[in-house]
């Protein structure tokens, strides 16, 4: 294969993009094409841009992102499954001037961690939540998640999710928007560059909400799991677009007035 020749000199080349400082150098353990990596990158870019790297404390979930604390170049802790919002609360209450965020999957946040996320929102806990909705339990081998679509085949819904016995997909943004303590609750998707850019803006606002002390902030990100969906990364991106976005409408579910004015 012929690779394009490098530029003769670099001095008339402007650096447009490079790996953010808020990520470490470690390669991740994510499967090729998994958008967990995209979400990490966006969070890191926002921390860099807002100058929060040295103030941030990140909380990794139990889920594929369990080692997130090794990839973020910030202080980090590992939560018990679903309890990241409670752990974040504990940290934020003793270090109110730090920037505390959780990074959680759909099993973590919407299944076992349902009570903790709702109460953190109800309390208006000044934390930021990055919620990766990939409609599956990635880490444990592809079991059904609360966000699994009707009829979707998983290892624990081998005949497809039967809503009559296994229930309906749970839409967390809609639920959390009901909480008075929530300042910012939106859903975005990572299925193409354009949506990724929008997701980044949302993440920015979710950290702005915290820095400004407005309350609880969450960005739900529709994300891929090529491995457990049995797809190539590109097929997975398209599956998000074609199947997940219709079931989980993108949009702003709650935006505090102070944030509506902000341009980021």
């Amino acid at each position: 294969m012929t690779v394009a020749a490098p530029p003769k000199t670099k001095h008339n080349l402007k650096l447009i993009y490079q790996k953010p400082e808020s990520l470490t150098d470690s390669p991740t353990h994510y499967c090729p094409g998994c958008t967990h990596g995209v979400a990490h990158r966006l969070v890191a870019e926002v921390l860099d841009e807002m100058g929060l790297r040295e103030k941030a404390i990140g909380i990794a979930p139990v889920g594929c992102a369990v080692l997130a604390y090794e990839y973020f170049n910030i202080d980090g802790v590992e939560a018990a499954h679903g309890r990241a919002p409670a752990m974040a609360t504990g940290i934020k209450r003793v270090l109110p001037d730090r920037v505390v965020f959780t990074y959680q999957g759909d099993g973590d946040l919407a299944s076992i961690g349902m009570a903790e996320i709702l109460h953190a929102a109800g309390r208006g806990e000044r934390i930021t939540v990055i919620f990766i909705n990939n409609a599956i339990y990635g880490m444990t081998g592809g079991q059904m998640a609360p966000t699994t679509l009707p009829e979707q085949v998983t290892t624990s819904s081998p005949r497809g999710r039967d809503v009559a016995t296994q229930g309906f997909p749970i839409r967390m943004s809609e639920i959390l928007a009901q909480m008075d303590g929530a300042a910012y609750v939106v859903r975005r998707s990572l299925h193409d560059p354009n949506n990724i850019r929008k997701a980044k803006k949302a993440i920015r606002l979710a950290f702005e909400a915290q820095v400004r002390g407005l309350g609880f902030a969450m960005v739900e990100l529709l994300s891929t799991c090529p491995t457990n969906w049995g797809m190539t990364p590109i097929e997975a991106m398209n599956w998000v677009r074609d199947h997940m976005v219709p079931a989980f409408p993108l949009g702003d579910y709650k935006v505090a007035p102070e944030l509506q004015k902000l341009r980021v």
């Binding site: 353990h29 994510y30 369990v66 080692l67 880490m139 491995t227």
Partner: protein, 181 residues
């Protein structure tokens, strides 16, 4: 009498399945058998290996520090496990993915380019069967025929169209197995 076979390679190379075929063959032959995977961390990638123990009495440990037989499907596996094989043991290594020969002098070593052979045969995923075929030539407890029968009897029906290809891979592996030490 007990034979321990350690099969190791990348995830995706069919390491666990190759072990299961041996286990089925052993069970059908009336032996006691255990198949023990090194199930990796709850996440993707990395290496995979499994230990198959075939014996004629109740099997104790499902793991052994020093297996009699090593079937190494890639370079890291050979590097890691070669030193552990019992003296007088057997190493079957996949030369397609090796950067060096087997070094131990006190074992029987068989190498063959399993990936290349599988590609020749038209299905790269058959490398594990090619290796098994090679292994069968020097495995004291099981014959190639028993392995084939195990495949036939235990492969799920919906995969039976693959039987022929598997047999061919096994046969070719057995035919091309070359003792190198």
């Amino acid at each position: 009498m007990q034979t321990e076979i350690l099969i190791a390679g990348f995830g995706g190379q069919g390491v666990l399945f190759a072990g299961q075929v041996l286990a089925y063959a052993a069970m059908d032959a009336g032996y006691e058998v255990t198949w023990f995977p090194s199930y990796g961390p709850e996440m993707r990638g990395g290496t995979a290996n499994c230990t198959v123990i075939i014996a004629d009495e109740e099997i104790g440990s499902p793991l052994v520090a020093h297996p009699k037989v090593l079937m190494a499907l890639n370079a890291p596996s050979l590097d890691r496990f070669e030193p552990q094989v019992q003296p007088e043991g057997l190493i079957v290594a996949n030369a397609s993915l090796l950067s060096r020969p087997v070094e131990r002098q006190d074992v029987t070593a068989i190498t063959l380019k399993a990936n290349h052979i599988a590609e020749e045969l038209g299905d790269r995923r058959m490398a594990n069967m090619v290796m098994l075929g090679a292994l069968s030539t020097h495995l004291p407890v099981l014959t190639l025929e028993q392995i084939k029968a195990a495949l036939r009897d235990h492969l799920p029906k919906r995969k039976h169209h693959l039987l022929e290809a598997n047999y061919r891979a096994l046969d070719t592996g057995a035919a091309r197995a070359r003792i190198v030490a």
